[in-house]
Point group: C2
Chain length 195, copies 2
């Protein structure tokens, strides 16, 4: 789509900081189409407790930039269920590890209001005063059973207008409706225009 | 029990940083018996995401000390339910605000393993390299219905050896078996010895 987007020297090459290899693959596939190259830094970093993914990810990006002094981006996502007041939201990973999909389905038993949304937030930072946030939101519903084998809440989330859960879709099909793809694409369009 | 524990001038008087007035009352009652006087600083502060209350509270204490440069303590607590892999644990406040006691009881429906523990962590800091942690743990079980009117998960937690939930007990009775009292008393004994 455009020329290769890299910084002038290797020390300031764009970094994607994450300890989740699935995110790396998804980002490579999406940003690659825009000619954007990044280096993966496999690192866990602190996240604050807050109800907004934007706040959590911005704080983490600031923390990382202070230590790395290098342009970087991170991604955070969560499932927000309306009938549960937004739960599990920012604590989706912990909730998945503890009560899992079975726990969510149990909480939703007898609930006809099954609307939910998956949110992804990509935060890019290249100076202490320059933070840019890109969000992807996919609305959908919570299924009544676990359908499909993938990680996280993918087996219980049916995107709007579809009949399959995220987990029942193939990689390409999922990417077509993925909240993370939307956020990463917004970031990519912005990066390409910026240069 | 001993003389008044204060620092040499008012600028370095011991601070208790919390936005929760109930914690202030509990701390005044317990530390007061030891002659320990503190100043309440009504402030919300960042907490990181982690599975251990000790880690979360230590990081917050460091953060506050960096900004206030004054001896201070904070308290954090959570309910850890064995059958739910420790959930809600460090995210007890958020979980209470979203799915509440009804949500926890729903998750526990049909579960005979009802063991749980309430944990309290008090962290005291008086220099960047001097952090002291005091914990209070009370084992118990999750009730099958909501019993009592108090805040948080008190209406569904029955301490070991008791038949009432935390919420059904009066203030004094609750303090006798409170996880927060245990942690605050450990802190008080240590403070008194220190001086």
């Amino acid at each position: 789509m455009t020329g290769l987007v890299t910084c002038r020297n290797s020390r300031s090459r764009l970094l994607f900081v994450t300890s989740n290899m699935n995110k790396v693959l998804e980002a490579k596939s999406i940003l690659g189409k825009f000619g954007i190259v990044f280096k993966h830094l496999n690192l866990k970093y602190p996240e604050i407790q807050a109800e907004s993914l934007r706040v959590i990810a911005s704080e983490s990006a600031r923390y990382l930039y202070e230590r790395l002094s290098n342009p970087l981006f991170i991604e955070d996502s969560g499932l927000f269920i309306d009938a549960l007041g937004g739960f599990p939201g920012p604590y989706s990973s912990y909730t998945y590890k503890t009560i899992g999909n079975n726990g969510i389905l149990k909480l939703m038993e007898g609930t006809s209001r099954r609307s939910a949304r998956f949110e992804s937030v990509v935060v890019y930072i290249d100076s202490p005063k320059s933070i840019h946030i890109f969000t992807g939101v996919v609305k959908g519903t919570i299924s009544s059973t676990i359908r499909g084998q993938k990680w996280g809440f993918d087996p219980i989330f049916i995107p709007e207008g579809k009949s399959q859960t995220y987990a029942e879709m193939g990689f390409d099909e999922k990417q077509m409706v993925s909240h993370r793809r939307i956020a990463l694409e917004k970031f990519a369009f912005w990066m390409v225009k910026k240069l």
